[in-house]
């Protein structure tokens, strides 16, 4: 925890954290200093001039708050008339050449120009001469569309590409009011985090081709979530909406700040992985590839399980800890061998040194921690001579070629309990649809041994069961959330003295011994 210092804002003493600039330090206690160019992840640039404040100690009359460190005893002047006038004047300058096309702008509703106009400006335009015209609808590549006229030339996007991705595709060309963000000819945005510039842009200059014109942002419901695109477990906001007479649909994922996981950003693949929550889903139960009601398939599956002489169970590395422990308990009860084999989820060499991991599974650490064997030999030995394979959402098609998989599972009946309509479903005797991660609550442990929980974000019209419930329906003894949590507490030392709601929002960092915990 950083040291606390005391300073004065408009003559009132406030206690703030030291080591921050005035915007962040004073902002943390609820006092806004308006700013457009400053972003905590990108540092201070000082070009927008919106954050100019007075310091009552004889220094230059105005300083940019973004470049001024919070210091003990500093007397910051924010509500003086001359400071308010600057904020108003800067807003006037920002807006004179702005198209003010809010009705057709995707940023409307989450736009700093709109917010600041309401807070700091609120006067009629005095612009009576022609506006500067610039480029519209420019395809910058990587799904980013740029509008130079809406741009306030704060340079956040430019700094992101220089400082964070270090790819430098963007620059500000030209001088004076002709200055504009652009790409170099023939060299579009080409990095795996490019869509973050859409979030970083304080106005509607950067829009996402994917999201443009799909929804007005104020209709979107926002729920915190954990991205299941890879082992990093980036924190996201799941933004969804149920339009009249339609289903609850996710429209976008946006990064949610978590300093110990992903900071302010997420990768583009993770961001766009929301589509897989909407599309390609298995929504009906199937018996021999024919749709039947879910309760009937459960009865049929139970009978099949009873009949089978030797059963193997496989679970997905994307499943939550709660699902894994429920499946594990089921396997133990059935005397079946349990595998978490999922080598196909790992794309060697695909990861980078920022957020993207080779392992595209969200909870492989959980598999290990619960003592579930993930080896190929283990899985192949388990299915050797088995009559039945119960597959909990593990996409074996990623780990095996189609022919090899058919050969391996020849003569084995498969019950596929799955969120998505994969090729495995076609091979299965029975298929049971289940909720995907935006539709259930659970917890996962990321590649850095950080245990994170998430809630149910989306409720579909056809509200599918959680794997935990299906496992219980098939005979797992861990039928209730309480039972599952206490079972987890036995396996994960760090959870021992915690109630479920005591797990920190920022995630629970497991120490080395807990992460290496093998209790089974």
């Amino acid at each position: 925890m950083a040291d606390k210092i005391k300073l004065f804002v408009n003559g009132v003493e406030v206690e703030v954290e030291s080591g921050k600039n005035l915007i962040d330090a004073i902002g943390a206690v609820g006092i806004e200093i308006p700013h457009l160019c400053y972003h905590p992840a990108l540092g201070a640039d000082g070009n927008c001039r919106m954050c100019l404040v007075g310091i009552e100690d004889g220094r230059p009359p105005l300083v940019p708050a973004c470049k001024t460190p919070a210091q003990e005893g500093l007397k910051v002047l924010l509500d003086a008339e001359h400071i308010k006038k600057i904020q108003h004047d800067v807003m006037e300058f920002e807006l004179i050449n702005h198209p003010i096309d809010c009705p057709v702008c995707d940023q409307a509703g989450e736009c700093k120009l709109q917010d600041y106009y309401m807070s700091y400006d609120q006067v009629d335009s005095r612009m009576t001469v022609p506006q500067v015209t610039k480029g519209k609808k420019m395809d910058f590549g990587a799904g980013v569309v740029h509008d130079q006229e809406r741009c306030v030339v704060c340079g956040r996007c430019v700094r992101f590409c220089r400082q964070i991705t270090k790819t430098g595709e963007l620059g500000i060309i030209n001088r004076t009011d002709d200055a504009r963000v652009n790409i170099f000819p023939g060299r579009p945005l080409n990095n795996r985090y490019a869509l973050n510039v859409v979030d970083l842009c304080p106005v509607g200059a950067m829009t996402s081709k994917d999201f443009r014109f799909k929804q007005r942002v104020w209709f979107l419901k926002k729920a915190p979530g954990i991205c299941h695109g890879c082992a990093k477990g980036c924190n996201i906001t799941i933004e969804h909406n149920r339009e009249k007479y339609k289903d609850d649909v996710i429209y976008r994922f946006r990064p949610r700040k978590n300093d110990q996981v992903n900071g302010y950003f997420i990768c583009d693949a993770g961001r766009l992985s929301y589509k897989a929550e909407n599309e390609g889903r298995l929504t009906e139960a199937r018996l021999s590839n024919k749709a039947i009601p879910v309760d009937e398939i459960l009865t049929a599956a139970s009978k099949e399980i009873e009949r089978a002489e030797k059963t193997a169970v496989i679970v997905s590395p994307n499943c939550s800890l709660e699902q894994m422990i429920a499946v594990k308990a089921l396997a133990e009860k059935l005397g079946a061998s349990l595998s978490g084999f999922s080598d196909g989820y790992i794309k060697s060499g695909d990861g980078d040194d920022f957020l993207i991991q080779d392992d595209k599974a969200a909870n492989r650490t959980g598999l290990t921690l619960l003592g579930i064997d993930s080896s190929k030999q283990g899985f192949e030995a388990a299915v050797q001579g088995a009559k039945l394979l119960i597959n909990f959402d593990n996409d074996l098609g990623l780990s095996y070629e189609e022919g090899a998989l058919k050969k391996l599972l020849q003569g084995i009946k498969i019950i596929a309990i799955t969120s998505h309509d994969t090729d495995c479903v076609k091979m299965a005797e029975m298929a049971i649809p289940v909720a995907s991660y935006s539709e259930y609550a659970g917890s996962v442990i990321n590649c850095d041994n950080i245990l994170q929980t998430f809630g149910k974000a989306v409720t579909k019209n056809n509200d599918l069961a959680d794997i935990c419930a299906i496992a219980a329906g098939l005979g797992s003894p861990l039928a209730s959330p309480e039972e599952r949590f206490s079972a987890l507490q036995e396996c994960i030392g760090a959870l021992k003295d915690l109630e479920p709601d005591q797990i920190p929002a920022k995630g629970l960092k497991l120490n080395d011994s807990e992460a290496a915990n093998v209790t089974v």
């Binding site: 000082g46 070009n47 927008c48 001039r49 919106m50 100019l52 009359p61 105005l62 940019p64 470049k67 006038k85 600057i86 004047d89 800067v90 006037e92 300058f93 920002e94 004179i96 050449n97 005095r126 612009m127 009576t128 001469v129 022609p130 500067v132 306030v152 030339v153 620059g171 500000i172 030209n174 001088r175 004076t176 009011d177 002709d178 200055a179």
Partner: protein, 424 residues
């Protein structure tokens, strides 16, 4: 009234060549220089009262003493030859006519501040000047005055010429550093000041060509000899570029402190064609204009200019005769600063363009009193809200014209707005 200190060799044929320059005393101060401790050189320059000749007039010796000691980083010297302000044409004479005086000054300054690497940032349009300068630097290297053993002394001075690409703002010292580093020429926020973190993050001193070129005289003749010229607080001589409506426009070296009108009359031959004086721009386009009655009392030094609410600036004096259309002049002025704004800070980027469009509207006859008042207000709204003073370099003079020649602007809007006539 004219004196010949900086311009001593300007009239000598081929003085830009090292042979001729040496015959007339170039590089003669080096033995003395290297016999002195560097601190004594700084002290000498402080005593001489030499002030930065780029326009701001900050005491050079004091600037040097801001360098932090023992940082373990190299100290750089950057010579500002980006002379780009309208009406300013003094440094170009030094670069072409006596470049060795400046190189000698670079050696003196380098030794005083402990620098071994100098960058001369020269205005891109100065093609003749850059050729002359580079030729002189090559000669100085060949003669052993630059390089590892300067003049046979155990001291290294290397000089690199960096050509600008045509941006006025690169004359702002931190934009100049950005440009040398290969970045877009945009001023940096200060602090940190260049003396602490300048070129490549290292301590850096940036001096104007004329400041550097003044050093050999000071070293050779002492602080008192330099202070013998000028006033108590504005010591020495200055190269004045006198242009506009005078009989004899040109570059003249004068001691500081002379009465402005006397200089216009006696040195530059007075207002041309027997016309009346309308105003004087005292030190380059960015300095507020002086009315004839103000010009009567002002003298050519930093203090008197400040007392007349204008600035000494760069010594670029522009004389305006009675035929000048002030509104046209202001349009040209805003046009220049709008064109040269780096586009970094919101008020300057958006505001100067707005001002330009308003003045064009007024000139076209479509303007109203509302436009005129808005133009005046924008000067206040833009000024001092930005990282550098480029915006103020536009708004300060524009405000002075609006306030001192208000009737001329009102005449342009009178047809559209009856309130203008009433307001008078």
């Amino acid at each position: 009234m004219e004196v010949k200190i900086l311009s001593a060799k300007f009239d000598i044929k081929d003085a830009h060549k090292i042979k001729v320059a040496k015959k007339h005393g170039a590089y003669s101060t080096l033995d003395k220089l290297f016999s002195m401790p560097p601190e004594d050189v700084i002290e000498l320059v402080k005593e001489s009262g030499l002030r930065g000749r780029g326009g701001a007039g900050f005491p050079s010796g004091v600037k040097w003493s801001f360098l932090p000691k023992d940082t373990g980083k190299p100290v750089y010297l950057a010579v500002n030859s980006d002379e780009s302000e309208p009406a300013t044409f003094k440094d170009r004479y030094i670069l072409v006519k006596d470049p060795h005086m400046m190189i000698e000054g670079i050696i003196i300054c380098s030794y005083a501040i402990g620098s071994h690497d100098t960058y001369i940032y020269i205005r891109g349009e100065y093609t003749t000047q850059v050729k002359a300068l580079q030729a002189a630097i090559d000669e100085a290297y060949a003669a052993g005055y630059l390089g590892d053993k300067v003049g046979g002394h155990d001291y290294t001075v290397n000089v690199t010429v960096h050509r600008g690409a045509g941006a006025y703002v690169c004359g702002e010292e931190t934009a100049l550093l950005e440009s040398i580093e290969g970045k877009k020429g945009q001023p940096r926020s200060k602090p940190p000041f260049p003396a602490v973190a300048g070129l490549y993050g290292c301590p850096t001193i940036i001096n104007n060509v004329q400041s550097i070129a003044s050093l050999p005289f000071i070293l050779e003749n002492g602080a008192e000899a330099y202070k013998a010229y000028g006033t108590e607080k504005s010591a020495g001589t200055h190269l004045f570029g006198i242009s506009g409506h005078v009989e004899k426009p040109g570059m003249y070296e004068l001691p500081l402190g002379l009465p402005l009108l006397e200089v216009i009359d006696k040195v530059a031959g007075g207002v041309w064609k027997g016309r009346k004086l309308k105003g004087v721009i005292p030190g380059g386009s960015s300095t507020p204009v002086l009315l004839p009655e103000e010009a009567k009392t002002v003298t050519l030094d930093y203090e008197s200019m400040a007392a007349h609410k204008t600035m000494f600036g760069s010594g670029g004096i522009v004389v305006l005769d009675e035929t000048v259309d002030i509104v046209q002049l202001v349009k040209n002025l805003i046009d220049f600063y709008h064109h040269e704004s780096c586009g970094q800070c919101t008020p300057c980027r958006e505001g100067l363009g707005w001002m330009l469009k308003i003045i064009k509207k007024i000139l076209s006859g479509d303007g109203t009193m509302v436009d005129l008042n808005l133009l005046r207000e924008l000067c206040d709204n833009i000024e001092l809200k930005t990282v550098c003073v480029l915006s103020a370099a536009c708004t300060m003079p524009v405000r002075s014209y609006l306030d001192k020649f208000r009737h001329e602007f009102e005449a342009y809007v009178a047809n559209n707005d009856s309130s203008a006539a009433e307001a008078k």
